[in-house]
Symmetry: C2
Subunit: 168 residues, 2 copies
Amino acid sequence: MTVWFTGISSAGKSTISRGVYDALLPRSRRVELLDGDLVRENLSKGLGFSRADRDENIRRIGFVAELLAKHGVIVLVAAISPYRAVRDEVRARLADFVEVYVNAPLSVAEQRDRKGIYRRCRAGEMHGVTGLDDPYEPPLTPEIECHTDRESPAESIARVLAFLEPRL
Amino acid sequence: MTVWFTGISSAGKSTISRGVYDALLPRSRRVELLDGDLVRENLSKGLGFSRADRDENIRRIGFVAELLAKHGVIVLVAAISPYRAVRDEVRARLADFVEVYVNAPLSVAEQRDRKGIYRRCRAGEMHGVTGLDDPYEPPLTPEIECHTDRESPAESIARVLAFLEPRL
């Protein structure tokens, strides 16, 4: 099974996916968390943030998730993955795919701004920031949607776990 | 465990690793074969054949092998991996690493020339062919060495399996 957390920066993807990972780990050693930053560093050095490069990055994560899932590992992916088409391409390739839309309004994500990228984009120091000057295409029918402006991380984590429970 | 097959093109890496895979599969469903061409296509599009790009390609394979091995998968890697330093870097990262030097003299590999790259290189149609106009640094102390000019694929496969047997 692959659980794919998509959403803009600071929406809460890392927090929720980490919480789900921590909850699943004692029950099954076979769970893996692929965080966007880790993957960029290890699989996608040299790729930028054009649509083509973002899509290629997502395909690579999908390839690794497929290999792990094939061997019974529950794979959690936390990556912005802004484009719907490539998310659906990955979904079609993977046997058991759960899409979690981590949904925070830009204003809320921008207040958190964990990596300071919204601030830097507003200041003109960087470009291509998803949700601000680069597109984010929300999932149309995600299996789960977490409104992280209205629910706590613990609530989001519990909802994801409740959905996964009958599939474990 | 990761079993890493290194050697020049047409030395016999794919044949031997595939044979080992086929022998292990009925005993353990948790075995994976990462072949160089498959990995280039899925993880390393855009990388070329400079030393830096070849090394980056090997690091990516090492990253994926590490993820799979961590979850108990026996990972077989078949990749030219011409540079000793990055092979040793991967070895240092992976807990249980078996290096198989698939050793054929260039003259023998060139006769096989499964992909036609030696011919194209001799004809001046391509460059950067390992063993011909690009370096290959043989392992100094590989766990296993297969002399594929003097032993049959079946013999090489049997020797690799015999080495792995007590570790399975």
